[in-house]
């Protein structure tokens, strides 16, 4: 996907006479746009086919919006990223869709989801934001701002989940949406832990390399 984005960015910027830095900025933005659109199209098609489009979209939006401020583990290539994104969102959509068919689904949801959400909040509070090698976050002000945005996002999600659970007593369709939201937040908090672990391993190897 990166090669395609590079070709497209060249096709856009060469006729406009942009320099290499301006081209890099356009390429970066174009990559984000294409990534967002491709994942949206694939999960929409999957959602329509599997009958869980709303659950997939709740998962897609909640993961993306939370990830923007928390950061998290990254794939090594853009294609790997595409596969992981589509697989995880589709899986969360499917689990959420068929969760409500379980006996005592509402009761189980009411017990498990708040626990998952609470654990996720703790992880986000302790670890967010997690930077990466390619995008280090150095400024203390930015770290504070991203942490605050993460917590505000979680509060909004909590209110939304509460509302969805409240209306689930009348219609179990909303239970699927609440479960989808909770699973997405939990998955995103797990990717934070993975990122922290990967970073610790990389730092340790770097230190070892410096000592030898």
């Amino acid at each position: 996907m990166e090669k395609l984005v590079k070709k497209l960015a060249d096709a856009i910027t060469v006729p406009l006479g942009y320099d290499s830095e301006q081209r890099a900025v356009v390429q970066y933005g174009l990559f984000a746009v294409i990534q967002i659109l491709v994942v949206a199209v694939i999960i929409s098609v999957f959602g329509i086919v599997a009958g869980c489009i709303w659950e997939c979209w709740i998962s897609y939006l909640s993961v993306a919006m939370l990830r923007k401020s928390t950061g998290g583990a990254h794939a090594n290539t853009s294609n790997e990223c595409l596969v992981i994104s589509v697989l995880v969102i589709s899986l969360i959509g499917l689990i959420s869709r068929y969760f409500r068919l379980m006996p005592h689904a509402l009761l189980i949801g009411l017990v498990i989801c708040p626990v998952l959400f609470f654990v996720s909040c703790l992880i986000v509070y302790k670890k967010a934001p997690v930077d990466s090698e390619k995008k280090p976050i150095k400024s203390a002000e930015k770290i504070r701002r991203l942490r605050l945005i993460s917590l505000v996002t979680l509060i909004i999600y909590a209110l939304l989940a509460f509302l969805l659970f409240a209306v689930s007593f009348n219609n179990l369709i909303y239970l699927s949406l609440a479960v989808s939201l909770n699973l997405s937040v939990f998955w995103q908090s797990l990717t934070l832990l993975m990122a922290v672990k990967n970073k610790a391993v990389v730092d340790k190897n770097l230190k070892k390399g410096e000592q030898t």
Partner: protein, 43 residues
Amino acid sequence: MKKYVRPVLAVVAMVCSFVAATMASSACLLFYYQPEEPKSLQD
């Protein structure tokens, strides 16, 4: 038709630059791959 190509490309480039700037202020891109960030967008 040809006279519209440059303005259209300029609008596309502007939208992409805007998205890039928005992503630069966040912790990472929305999904699980982070390409190298352009120097002008770094902290």
